[in-house]
């Protein structure tokens, strides 16, 4: 009720007045124009376009908003579905003409009504999205949570990684502040300025459909494995001269052990331990060589202070960085390692030898 096909303004657009009777004429026009761009539409689509190919075709909603019902035939033809799908493959509810009348509260309600259209083919990603933080928000009644078409588009769906930077820009439509920080980071700069696709975009860490709430303890404690996915990749890190020992040296240290043990057992925010992002930043990661070393130490002390009350000024010296100790950089550590490297094998060999000799002698004597 209240919504009706809006026909005003159709006349004088150059495509002649549209009516149910002039459909055949338009069909010819569209086929010719589509053929001119080398992308013929599946024949069924063309009959829909009789009406939906008209730019001004729109639906007036209860809220007074207007929902365009125009489909750009050319853009659809170029979309990833262009050569594969008929209109009714997605719009399954449309079986008759004239279409059954439907009324919509507002634009968002309109989008929501067609929310499950993609599910027919993309059931895997649909199911994954039910596990996402977006769906959690959605199920609590927040209609702003993104649906398939909000990220992918509707008739103009393209490969999401085409190009890779498009992914981050898609998220930026809602998460603008995070995007700005990301754009200034070592990863963001490389992607946006150099077109470097080695670096992560939003979905590489947050995943795409089953996006987890990053504020939970389990995400926090598991986050080192996200960084490690690339930062332990020998071939990839070699390109940039970055050490791949970062994860190993983190896990060997107190906080790393805490994180790896408590992944499953901790849930309270107060129980969090230091992970990669606590020192290096989350979205605004900069290269460690960028600020002078003193700046890193200042950062580190600030990071320590988040959990430890006092006396932390001297603590950064206790952190040997992610690199293996050398005689020049950490003589004490190097000496300790060298000492036990010799002492323990000698000790164990001696023990084993004396046991074997003793047993042998006793047994033979008997």
């Amino acid at each position: 009720m209240g919504s009706r096909i809006k026909t005003a303004g159709m006349i004088g657009r150059g495509r002649a007045a549209l009516s149910r009777l002039s459909g055949i004429l338009l069909l010819h026009v569209l086929i010719t124009s589509a053929a001119a761009h080398g992308a013929p539409l599946p024949s069924e689509n063309s009959s829909c376009l009789n009406c939906h190919g008209v730019r001004t075709l729109a639906l007036r909603l209860k809220s007074g908003e207007e929902r365009s019902l125009y489909v750009d035939a050319e853009r659809f033809a170029q979309s990833i579905h262009g050569k594969k799908l008929l209109c009714t493959n997605c719009h399954r509810d449309i079986k008759t003409y004239p279409h059954p009348k439907r009324t919509f509260e507002n634009l968002r309600v309109f989008t929501l009504a067609y929310y499950e259209n993609c599910k027919g083919c993309h059931f895997d990603n649909y199911t994954r999205s039910l596990d996402s933080v977006h769906y959690t928000v959605f199920s609590k009644g927040d209609a702003r949570a993104p649906l398939c078409v909000d990220c992918h588009g509707a008739h103009d769906v393209a490969g999401p990684r085409d190009p890779k930077s498009r992914i981050s820009k898609t998220c930026a439509r809602c998460h603008e502040e995070v995007y700005t920080r990301y754009a200034g980071s070592v990863h963001g700069k490389a992607l946006l300025h150099e077109g470097n696709v080695d670096v992560p975009v939003c979905t590489d860490c947050h995943r795409s459909h089953n996006i987890e709430d990053p504020r939970t303890a389990s995400f926090h404690l598991r986050s080192p494995s996200l960084c490690a996915a690339c930062h332990t990749d020998e071939a990839l890190m070699k390109k940039y001269g970055i050490s791949t020992h970062v994860l190993r040296s983190y896990l060997k240290d107190f906080h790393g052990k805490t994180a790896s043990f408590s992944e499953k057992t901790r849930s309270k925010r107060s129980d969090f331990t230091v992970v990669c992002t606590d020192c290096h930043g989350v979205h605004d990661i900069v290269p460690v060589v960028d600020p002078p070393l003193t700046a890193i130490k200042t950062n580190l002390v600030r990071t320590c202070r988040k959990c430890h009350d006092s006396g932390v000024e001297s603590v950064p010296a206790a952190w040997l960085s992610h690199y293996d100790p050398t005689p020049e950089k950490a003589p004490l550590i190097y000496a300790v390692e060298a000492f036990y490297g010799i002492f323990i094998p000698i000790l164990v060999t001696g023990f084993v030898a004396q046991i074997l000799l003793h047993v042998w002698r006793i047994i033979v004597n008997r």
């Binding site: 790896s260 010296a317 004490l332």
Partner: protein, 242 residues
């Protein structure tokens, strides 16, 4: 004690047995909670820590056991030093020239170079080695352990590098201590063919007269009948048959 005990002599005091039992229990707890932290990321260690109630509780157990271990060590060393100074006990645990000779004799015997075997006094070189291994490793572990217990407090006085150094020391020296316990103590005190499978004397405090004469022929055997503290004459020593 009943008449059955005629074949036994007293070898360890109640305090010694208590210290041994305490160290034994604490050592096992420390080794289990310590090794599972050392080998984090492997299935068994993660599972063990999970069953202990999480890493925080595992660390708490480890630290409390460490503190108790340190208390036993301090009371033992304090008593030993005080009593030795007061000349109430002999220097029976100090390695002597004879101990080093015994090592050589034993080595020659083990390598088939001679048929002579050393004769031992109250404590033989194996037990002394183990005692000092425990004392020295214990002190290293206690010291490095306390650095790791209070790193922020202690780095106010110590250079920062001591913390990662303490981690390494604690890890490697703990392993050395474990090796001394498993490969040396368990073998030489319990599992070696002469004793196998188990020597109960440190738990009961008594040792059979026969074993005493066989294994510690040089020690004067106190007679139970004569009461504690009686100092019998040194015996004539015979080379025992094995």
């Amino acid at each position: 004690m009943s008449g059955n005990d005629q074949g036994y002599v007293k070898r360890f005091s109640g305090k010694q047995r208590f210290e041994h039992l305490g160290v034994l229990v604490l050592f096992i707890i420390l080794a289990v909670t310590g090794l599972s932290q050392r080998f984090s990321g492997t299935g068994w260690a993660d599972r063990l820590v999970f069953y202990l109630g999480g890493i925080d509780r595992a660390r708490w157990i480890h630290r409390m056991s460490g503190v108790l271990f340190a208390l036993i060590a301090a009371s033992h060393l304090g008593a030993v030093v005080a009593l030795t100074m007061m000349r109430k006990i002999p220097f029976s645990m100090i390695p002597s020239k004879k101990d080093f000779r015994d090592v050589v004799v034993m080595l020659r015997y083990s390598l088939w170079l001679s048929e002579e075997r050393p004769l031992f006094d109250r404590y033989d070189y194996r037990q002394k080695f183990e005692y000092w291994g425990l004392i020295l490793n214990g002190m290293v572990m206690i010291l490095s352990g306390f650095i790791l217990y209070f790193p922020i407090f202690l780095t106010a006085f110590l250079p920062g590098e001591t913390v990662p150094a303490a981690i390494l020391v604690h890890r490697d020296d703990g392993f050395a201590a474990l090796m001394i316990m498993v490969a040396w103590h368990l073998y030489s005190a319990h599992l070696r063919p002469e004793i196998f499978p188990f020597d109960s004397s440190i738990f009961t405090g008594r040792i059979s007269r026969a074993r005493m004469e066989r294994e510690h022929p040089l020690e004067p055997v106190p007679s139970l009948a004569a009461g504690e503290g009686a100092q019998p004459e040194a015996r004539k020593v015979e080379i025992p048959e094995l």
